[in-house]
Symmetry: C2
Subunit: 153 residues, 2 copies
Protein backbone atom coordinates (compact mmCIF):
# COMPACT_ATOMS: atom_id res chain seq x y z
CA UNK A 1 0.00 0.00 0.00
CA UNK A 2 1.70 3.16 -1.20
CA UNK A 3 -0.80 5.61 0.32
CA UNK A 4 -1.31 7.48 -2.95
CA UNK A 5 -4.71 8.74 -4.02
CA UNK A 6 -4.05 8.57 -7.78
CA UNK A 7 -1.38 6.85 -9.82
CA UNK A 8 -0.33 5.44 -13.19
CA UNK A 9 1.53 2.14 -13.24
CA UNK A 10 2.62 -0.72 -15.48
CA UNK A 11 1.75 -3.19 -12.69
CA UNK A 12 -1.59 -5.05 -12.56
CA UNK A 13 -4.30 -3.19 -10.62
CA UNK A 14 -6.02 -4.80 -7.64
CA UNK A 15 -9.63 -3.66 -7.17
CA UNK A 16 -9.78 -5.20 -3.69
CA UNK A 17 -6.75 -3.27 -2.52
CA UNK A 18 -8.06 -0.03 -4.04
CA UNK A 19 -11.46 -0.54 -2.41
CA UNK A 20 -9.78 -1.03 0.96
CA UNK A 21 -8.17 2.40 0.59
CA UNK A 22 -11.52 4.20 0.41
CA UNK A 23 -13.18 2.21 3.20
CA UNK A 24 -13.77 4.40 6.27
CA UNK A 25 -15.95 4.74 9.36
CA UNK A 26 -18.05 7.62 8.07
CA UNK A 27 -18.90 6.06 4.68
CA UNK A 28 -21.78 3.68 4.07
CA UNK A 29 -21.41 3.43 0.30
CA UNK A 30 -18.57 2.56 -2.05
CA UNK A 31 -18.92 2.62 -5.81
CA UNK A 32 -16.22 1.36 -8.12
CA UNK A 33 -15.82 1.50 -11.85
CA UNK A 34 -13.39 -0.85 -13.55
CA UNK A 35 -12.51 -0.66 -17.22
CA UNK A 36 -11.32 -3.94 -18.73
CA UNK A 37 -10.00 -4.92 -22.15
CA UNK A 38 -12.88 -6.23 -24.26
CA UNK A 39 -12.23 -8.73 -27.04
CA UNK A 40 -14.69 -7.52 -29.67
CA UNK A 41 -15.61 -3.98 -30.74
CA UNK A 42 -18.29 -3.83 -33.41
CA UNK A 43 -17.36 -7.31 -34.59
CA UNK A 44 -13.66 -6.50 -34.80
CA UNK A 45 -11.37 -8.68 -32.72
CA UNK A 46 -8.81 -7.10 -30.42
CA UNK A 47 -5.72 -9.19 -29.66
CA UNK A 48 -4.31 -6.85 -26.99
CA UNK A 49 -3.94 -3.16 -26.19
CA UNK A 50 -1.05 -0.93 -25.43
CA UNK A 51 -1.60 2.13 -23.20
CA UNK A 52 0.91 4.93 -23.11
CA UNK A 53 0.90 7.92 -20.81
CA UNK A 54 2.99 10.87 -19.83
CA UNK A 55 2.79 9.71 -16.19
CA UNK A 56 3.54 12.97 -14.37
CA UNK A 57 0.90 14.84 -16.37
CA UNK A 58 -1.59 11.95 -16.20
CA UNK A 59 -1.29 11.81 -12.40
CA UNK A 60 -1.64 15.58 -12.18
CA UNK A 61 -4.87 15.41 -14.18
CA UNK A 62 -6.17 12.47 -12.11
CA UNK A 63 -5.49 14.51 -8.97
CA UNK A 64 -7.35 17.44 -10.50
CA UNK A 65 -10.37 15.17 -11.00
CA UNK A 66 -10.16 13.96 -7.38
CA UNK A 67 -10.11 17.60 -6.27
CA UNK A 68 -13.11 18.42 -8.46
CA UNK A 69 -15.01 15.53 -6.87
CA UNK A 70 -14.14 16.69 -3.36
CA UNK A 71 -15.45 20.13 -4.25
CA UNK A 72 -18.68 18.86 -5.84
CA UNK A 73 -19.38 16.06 -3.31
CA UNK A 74 -17.69 17.11 -0.04
CA UNK A 75 -16.78 14.18 2.18
CA UNK A 76 -16.05 11.84 -0.72
CA UNK A 77 -12.86 9.78 -0.70
CA UNK A 78 -11.64 9.03 -4.23
CA UNK A 79 -8.86 6.69 -5.37
CA UNK A 80 -8.03 6.21 -9.07
CA UNK A 81 -5.37 4.14 -10.79
CA UNK A 82 -4.65 3.65 -14.50
CA UNK A 83 -2.45 0.95 -15.93
CA UNK A 84 -0.12 1.44 -18.89
CA UNK A 85 1.84 -0.90 -21.14
CA UNK A 86 0.55 -4.03 -22.80
CA UNK A 87 -2.85 -5.24 -21.59
CA UNK A 88 -4.45 -8.51 -22.66
CA UNK A 89 -8.14 -9.32 -22.96
CA UNK A 90 -9.91 -9.01 -19.53
CA UNK A 91 -6.97 -7.11 -18.01
CA UNK A 92 -7.95 -4.10 -15.92
CA UNK A 93 -7.01 -0.74 -17.46
CA UNK A 94 -8.53 1.61 -14.88
CA UNK A 95 -10.01 1.40 -11.39
CA UNK A 96 -12.01 4.18 -9.75
CA UNK A 97 -13.26 3.79 -6.19
CA UNK A 98 -15.23 6.39 -4.26
CA UNK A 99 -16.71 6.21 -0.79
CA UNK A 100 -19.46 8.50 0.46
CA UNK A 101 -21.84 8.57 3.43
CA UNK A 102 -24.86 7.68 1.22
CA UNK A 103 -25.17 5.87 -2.09
CA UNK A 104 -26.49 8.63 -4.40
CA UNK A 105 -23.23 10.53 -4.25
CA UNK A 106 -21.15 7.36 -4.72
CA UNK A 107 -22.75 6.66 -8.10
CA UNK A 108 -22.61 10.29 -9.22
CA UNK A 109 -18.97 10.83 -8.23
CA UNK A 110 -17.84 7.53 -9.78
CA UNK A 111 -19.54 8.34 -13.06
CA UNK A 112 -18.12 11.84 -13.04
CA UNK A 113 -14.63 10.41 -12.53
CA UNK A 114 -14.64 8.09 -15.56
CA UNK A 115 -16.13 10.75 -17.84
CA UNK A 116 -13.48 13.26 -16.75
CA UNK A 117 -10.68 10.72 -17.16
CA UNK A 118 -11.74 10.27 -20.76
CA UNK A 119 -11.92 14.03 -21.23
CA UNK A 120 -8.70 15.33 -19.76
CA UNK A 121 -6.18 12.63 -18.82
CA UNK A 122 -3.36 12.19 -21.38
CA UNK A 123 -3.37 8.43 -21.84
CA UNK A 124 -3.34 6.91 -25.31
CA UNK A 125 -4.48 3.51 -26.38
CA UNK A 126 -3.09 1.48 -29.25
CA UNK A 127 -5.47 -1.21 -30.41
CA UNK A 128 -3.83 -4.29 -31.83
CA UNK A 129 -6.52 -5.80 -34.02
CA UNK A 130 -6.41 -9.15 -35.71
CA UNK A 131 -5.78 -7.28 -38.98
CA UNK A 132 -3.66 -4.30 -37.95
CA UNK A 133 -3.17 -1.66 -35.30
CA UNK A 134 -4.44 1.85 -34.54
CA UNK A 135 -3.67 4.59 -32.04
CA UNK A 136 -6.80 5.81 -30.31
CA UNK A 137 -6.92 9.05 -28.35
CA UNK A 138 -8.37 8.28 -24.98
CA UNK A 139 -9.54 11.78 -24.18
CA UNK A 140 -11.15 14.79 -25.78
CA UNK A 141 -9.22 17.88 -24.73
CA UNK A 142 -5.64 16.80 -25.12
CA UNK A 143 -5.67 15.61 -28.72
CA UNK A 144 -7.35 18.26 -30.86
CA UNK A 145 -7.76 17.04 -34.38
CA UNK A 146 -8.47 13.45 -33.36
CA UNK A 147 -12.19 12.74 -33.50
CA UNK A 148 -13.76 12.01 -30.13
CA UNK A 149 -14.52 8.36 -29.63
CA UNK A 150 -18.13 8.28 -28.51
CA UNK A 151 -18.02 4.63 -27.68
CA UNK A 152 -17.37 3.65 -24.08
CA UNK A 153 -14.15 1.91 -23.22
CA UNK B 1 -15.19 -19.83 -5.44
CA UNK B 2 -18.60 -21.48 -5.16
CA UNK B 3 -19.83 -20.55 -8.63
CA UNK B 4 -23.05 -19.01 -7.33
CA UNK B 5 -24.53 -15.87 -8.80
CA UNK B 6 -26.27 -14.71 -5.61
CA UNK B 7 -25.92 -15.73 -1.98
CA UNK B 8 -26.42 -14.81 1.66
CA UNK B 9 -23.66 -15.69 4.12
CA UNK B 10 -22.35 -15.01 7.62
CA UNK B 11 -18.80 -14.99 6.23
CA UNK B 12 -16.97 -11.77 5.32
CA UNK B 13 -17.49 -10.69 1.69
CA UNK B 14 -14.53 -10.20 -0.64
CA UNK B 15 -15.13 -7.54 -3.31
CA UNK B 16 -12.06 -8.65 -5.27
CA UNK B 17 -13.29 -12.22 -5.49
CA UNK B 18 -16.79 -11.09 -6.49
CA UNK B 19 -15.39 -8.77 -9.16
CA UNK B 20 -13.35 -11.64 -10.59
CA UNK B 21 -16.58 -13.59 -11.06
CA UNK B 22 -18.08 -10.99 -13.42
CA UNK B 23 -14.88 -10.39 -15.42
CA UNK B 24 -15.24 -11.75 -18.97
CA UNK B 25 -13.90 -11.33 -22.49
CA UNK B 26 -16.94 -9.54 -23.89
CA UNK B 27 -17.24 -6.95 -21.09
CA UNK B 28 -15.38 -3.66 -21.03
CA UNK B 29 -17.04 -2.21 -17.92
CA UNK B 30 -17.58 -3.43 -14.37
CA UNK B 31 -19.50 -1.43 -11.80
CA UNK B 32 -19.67 -2.46 -8.17
CA UNK B 33 -21.67 -1.16 -5.27
CA UNK B 34 -20.57 -1.99 -1.73
CA UNK B 35 -22.61 -1.13 1.33
CA UNK B 36 -20.57 -0.79 4.52
CA UNK B 37 -21.50 -0.18 8.15
CA UNK B 38 -21.29 3.54 8.87
CA UNK B 39 -20.53 4.79 12.36
CA UNK B 40 -22.78 7.85 12.54
CA UNK B 41 -26.34 8.38 11.28
CA UNK B 42 -27.66 11.87 11.88
CA UNK B 43 -25.30 12.33 14.78
CA UNK B 44 -26.27 9.03 16.42
CA UNK B 45 -23.43 6.60 17.00
CA UNK B 46 -23.78 2.99 15.86
CA UNK B 47 -21.72 0.44 17.79
CA UNK B 48 -22.48 -2.50 15.46
CA UNK B 49 -25.30 -3.98 13.38
CA UNK B 50 -26.98 -7.32 13.26
CA UNK B 51 -28.50 -8.49 9.95
CA UNK B 52 -31.00 -11.31 9.87
CA UNK B 53 -32.43 -13.00 6.79
CA UNK B 54 -34.58 -15.90 5.77
CA UNK B 55 -31.74 -17.11 3.50
CA UNK B 56 -33.69 -19.27 1.05
CA UNK B 57 -36.19 -16.50 0.38
CA UNK B 58 -33.50 -13.79 0.33
CA UNK B 59 -31.49 -15.73 -2.27
CA UNK B 60 -34.64 -16.33 -4.33
CA UNK B 61 -35.34 -12.60 -4.37
CA UNK B 62 -31.72 -11.78 -5.23
CA UNK B 63 -31.94 -14.23 -8.13
CA UNK B 64 -35.16 -12.55 -9.26
CA UNK B 65 -33.31 -9.22 -9.36
CA UNK B 66 -30.46 -10.77 -11.39
CA UNK B 67 -33.06 -12.11 -13.83
CA UNK B 68 -34.75 -8.69 -14.07
CA UNK B 69 -31.38 -7.14 -14.89
CA UNK B 70 -30.65 -9.73 -17.58
CA UNK B 71 -34.02 -8.93 -19.13
CA UNK B 72 -33.57 -5.15 -18.98
CA UNK B 73 -29.87 -5.08 -19.95
CA UNK B 74 -29.22 -8.25 -22.00
CA UNK B 75 -25.62 -9.40 -21.86
CA UNK B 76 -25.06 -8.21 -18.30
CA UNK B 77 -23.40 -10.54 -15.79
CA UNK B 78 -24.57 -9.84 -12.24
CA UNK B 79 -23.24 -11.22 -8.94
CA UNK B 80 -24.70 -10.18 -5.58
CA UNK B 81 -23.89 -11.26 -2.03
CA UNK B 82 -25.33 -10.11 1.29
CA UNK B 83 -23.81 -10.79 4.66
CA UNK B 84 -25.81 -11.57 7.78
CA UNK B 85 -25.00 -11.75 11.49
CA UNK B 86 -23.05 -9.20 13.49
CA UNK B 87 -21.24 -6.55 11.46
CA UNK B 88 -18.89 -3.98 12.91
CA UNK B 89 -18.19 -0.47 11.67
CA UNK B 90 -16.64 -0.53 8.13
CA UNK B 91 -17.66 -4.19 7.59
CA UNK B 92 -19.18 -4.94 4.20
CA UNK B 93 -22.91 -5.79 4.28
CA UNK B 94 -23.59 -6.13 0.57
CA UNK B 95 -21.60 -6.38 -2.66
CA UNK B 96 -23.10 -5.99 -6.14
CA UNK B 97 -20.93 -6.43 -9.22
CA UNK B 98 -22.13 -6.15 -12.80
CA UNK B 99 -20.20 -6.40 -16.03
CA UNK B 100 -21.43 -5.08 -19.37
CA UNK B 101 -19.91 -4.37 -22.77
CA UNK B 102 -20.12 -0.58 -22.24
CA UNK B 103 -20.19 1.57 -19.14
CA UNK B 104 -23.66 3.17 -19.34
CA UNK B 105 -25.37 -0.13 -18.66
CA UNK B 106 -22.96 -1.03 -15.85
CA UNK B 107 -23.96 2.03 -13.83
CA UNK B 108 -27.67 1.62 -14.57
CA UNK B 109 -27.80 -2.08 -13.73
CA UNK B 110 -25.78 -1.66 -10.54
CA UNK B 111 -28.03 1.13 -9.32
CA UNK B 112 -31.12 -0.88 -10.20
CA UNK B 113 -29.78 -3.82 -8.18
CA UNK B 114 -29.27 -1.94 -4.92
CA UNK B 115 -32.65 -0.20 -5.16
CA UNK B 116 -34.40 -3.53 -5.79
CA UNK B 117 -32.51 -5.21 -2.94
CA UNK B 118 -33.87 -2.60 -0.59
CA UNK B 119 -37.36 -3.02 -2.03
CA UNK B 120 -37.89 -6.76 -2.11
CA UNK B 121 -35.19 -8.78 -0.33
CA UNK B 122 -36.22 -9.96 3.16
CA UNK B 123 -33.19 -8.93 5.20
CA UNK B 124 -33.61 -7.05 8.47
CA UNK B 125 -31.14 -4.86 10.23
CA UNK B 126 -30.87 -4.34 13.98
CA UNK B 127 -29.02 -1.17 14.86
CA UNK B 128 -27.13 -1.29 18.10
CA UNK B 129 -26.80 2.37 19.07
CA UNK B 130 -24.74 3.78 21.87
CA UNK B 131 -28.02 4.29 23.76
CA UNK B 132 -30.20 1.35 22.73
CA UNK B 133 -31.16 -0.84 19.82
CA UNK B 134 -33.75 -0.86 17.03
CA UNK B 135 -34.93 -3.23 14.31
CA UNK B 136 -34.97 -1.57 10.91
CA UNK B 137 -36.81 -3.03 7.94
CA UNK B 138 -34.38 -3.14 5.06
CA UNK B 139 -36.97 -3.27 2.32
CA UNK B 140 -40.30 -1.78 1.35
CA UNK B 141 -42.56 -4.57 0.19
CA UNK B 142 -41.97 -7.26 2.76
CA UNK B 143 -42.76 -5.32 5.93
CA UNK B 144 -46.02 -3.45 5.43
CA UNK B 145 -46.71 -1.19 8.36
CA UNK B 146 -43.07 -0.27 8.89
CA UNK B 147 -42.35 3.18 7.48
CA UNK B 148 -39.98 3.16 4.52
CA UNK B 149 -36.53 4.37 5.40
CA UNK B 150 -35.75 7.01 2.83
CA UNK B 151 -32.18 7.28 3.90
CA UNK B 152 -29.60 5.29 1.96
CA UNK B 153 -27.66 2.62 3.74
Amino acid sequence: MNGKQVWVTEEPLSPGEIISRVTRRDAGAINTFIGTVREFTKGKKTLYLHYEAYPAMAEKKLQQIADEIEKQWPGTTTVMAHRTGRLDITDIAVVIAVSTPHRDASYAASRYAIERIKEIVPIWKKEHWEDGEEWIGNQKETKPGVPTKEESR
